[in-house]
């Protein structure tokens, strides 16, 4: 079994010289070694469209087109860069919580299932990290009923985990107005 080395060899694909120097600083801050694209790097850091499929896993900063394993927000921290580079080298896909990545979207996306008030309360309990028992206590219902609601939520939302149910049923549907 081979592990991801602690210091990666990272090449840069930049849109211009200014972006190039900015990306170089980010590579240095994240603790990795900057190498030329031709020097068989472990990974690529880019802010630009990569024309063909990159030869090695790439991490893109900001809205970049193409089939890219790692995507980070436009202003990533060194820690995020480090984690994303390691993850894509290990063969994983990385997506940051970038509001811009969400794009210019509608107030509420249609097509989500509409929940009952009780289901929303149960989801809020899941969001707060409560166990079924604790959720039951908070809502003054039986743990059995909580379990029943969670099963119904999973089915309605097509979720397979509590975290997924919270994101699909709560976070994506709340609108501030």
């Amino acid at each position: 079994m081979s592990c991801v080395p602690s210091r990666l060899r990272v090449a840069i694909v930049a849109s211009d010289s200014q972006a190039r120097s900015r990306l170089a600083v980010l590579v240095a801050r994240s603790g990795h070694e900057l190498v030329e694209l031709a020097a068989s790097p472990d990974a690529i850091l880019t802010d630009d469209f990569i024309n063909s499929s990159p030869p090695v896993p790439a991490v893109a900063i900001g809205a970049v087109e193409g089939d890219i394993a790692g995507r980070l927000p436009a202003d990533p921290t060194a820690r995020q860069i480090d984690a994303a580079l390691r993850a894509v080298v290990a063969g994983l896909t990385v997506r940051g919580p970038n509001p811009q990545e969400r794009g210019f979207g509608p107030l509420a996306e249609d097509g989500w299932p509409v929940l009952t008030p009780r289901e929303i309360e149960v989801l809020a309990a899941l969001r707060d990290g409560l166990s079924n028992k604790a959720a039951a206590r908070r809502l003054a219902i039986s743990p059995h009923t909580v379990k029943f609601h969670i099963e119904s939520l999973f089915k309605k939302l097509g979720a397979t985990s509590r975290a997924e149910a919270v994101v699909k049923g709560l976070k994506r549907q709340i609108v501030e107005i």
């Binding site: 849109s15 211009d16 200014q18 972006a19 900015r22 802010d47 630009d48 469209f49 900001g62 809205a63 970049v64 087109e65 436009a74 811009q100 969400r102 794009g103 210019f104 979207g105 509608p106 107030l107 509420a108 996306e109 249609d110 989500w112 509409v114 929940l115 009952t116 008030p117 009780r118 929303i120 709560l170 549907q173 709340i174 609108v175 501030e176 107005i177």
Partner: protein
């Protein structure tokens, strides 16, 4: 003899090149220190518009127009609601006026963007045209125009023209990176307030809402099966001052039923600011009527 009959594909290609040549002066490359280049559109003399979402916290920029002339640009105003940002230039040329285009599904559209050297162009069909919609930040977009093309982040904000060379609007990236058009009329509608005050005022209640099924036992009382559950109330906001509580279910606003957040957004245009509005809510199985005074949406 067929010598004098143009090959149709060649004719199409030549026509496209001609369109691009005419539109090129409108294409603005917007450079911000420490960031990747972005695209914008020279909308009128000294004014470049672009996609607001691409310019978080930007105030100063350099703009290079399609003819290579370059200008210092400063922020004139931004509106996250319609995703329009306006920059003011000094001494830029007056663009040739373009008529607003009428989008039709299936019609060809050319999307322009800035490129390191000159311009980039994409050709696609108008994938769909829908009615007005409300964005996440509450702005009203006059039409929902979707283009059948992909686009890189640096191109959004560029002009989108129809086959006749009329201006459909500016491009922007929507959810799942779909390419949307902010229509010409929408840009025009916010440009005056942006240039004069730097922002666009919109109504605000200070509510976090989620669509909800009204429990069966209360459906008769509410006279409907869907409403909006109050998930949060902004401290000291209009709804809080009116007495709205988290857990209430909003069923009507200004006498009209609400089952989607857009129904509320429709009532919160700039004209609503300062006006009273009736909120009917379900609380503990009873209908409750409260009066709120719409405030201006806080910036940021």
């Amino acid at each position: 003899m067929t010598d004098n009959v143009r090959d149709p594909l060649e004719a199409l290609s030549d026509a496209l090149v001609e369109r691009v040549r005419r539109a090129q002066p409108l294409v603005a490359r917007i450079e911000v220190e420490g960031r990747s280049m972005r695209s914008g559109t020279l909308w009128r003399k000294d004014v470049v518009v672009a996609a607001e979402q691409a310019f978080a916290r930007v105030e100063e920029a350099k703009v290079v127009l399609g003819d290579g002339s370059s200008f210092a640009a400063h922020l004139a105003g931004r509106d996250p609601g319609t995703n329009v940002i306006a920059f003011r230039l000094d001494g830029a040329p007056e663009p040739a006026p373009l008529a607003a285009g009428e989008p039709h599904p299936g019609a060809l559209a050319l999307a322009f963007g800035a490129d390191a050297a000159s311009v980039s162009v994409r050709l696609g069909v108008i994938h769909s045209v829908g009615p007005a919609w409300h964005s996440r930040a509450g702005g009203r977009i006059d039409r929902r125009i979707v283009l059948d093309m992909t686009m890189g982040g640096r191109e959004e904000g560029g002009a989108v023209l129809d086959a006749g060379g009329n201006l459909l609007g500016i491009s922007t990236l929507g959810p799942r990176r779909r390419v949307l058009v902010i229509p010409t009329t929408t840009v025009e509608g916010v440009l005056e307030p942006l240039l004069s005050t730097g922002r666009v005022e919109r109504g605000w209640l200070g509510l976090a809402l989620q669509p909800v099924l009204v429990p069966e036992a209360m459906q008769a009382e509410a006279d409907k099966s869907r409403g909006l559950m109050i998930m949060g109330v902004a401290k000291d906001g209009p709804a809080a001052q009116a007495g709205v509580l988290a857990g209430d279910i909003l069923v009507t606003i200004g006498g009209e039923g609400v089952s989607r957040p857009a129904n509320v957004a429709q009532r919160l245009g700039p004209e609503a600011i300062g006006q009273p509005i009736e909120l009917r809510l379900l609380r503990a199985g009873k209908i409750l009527s409260l009066m709120a005074t719409v405030a201006a949406r806080p910036s940021g």
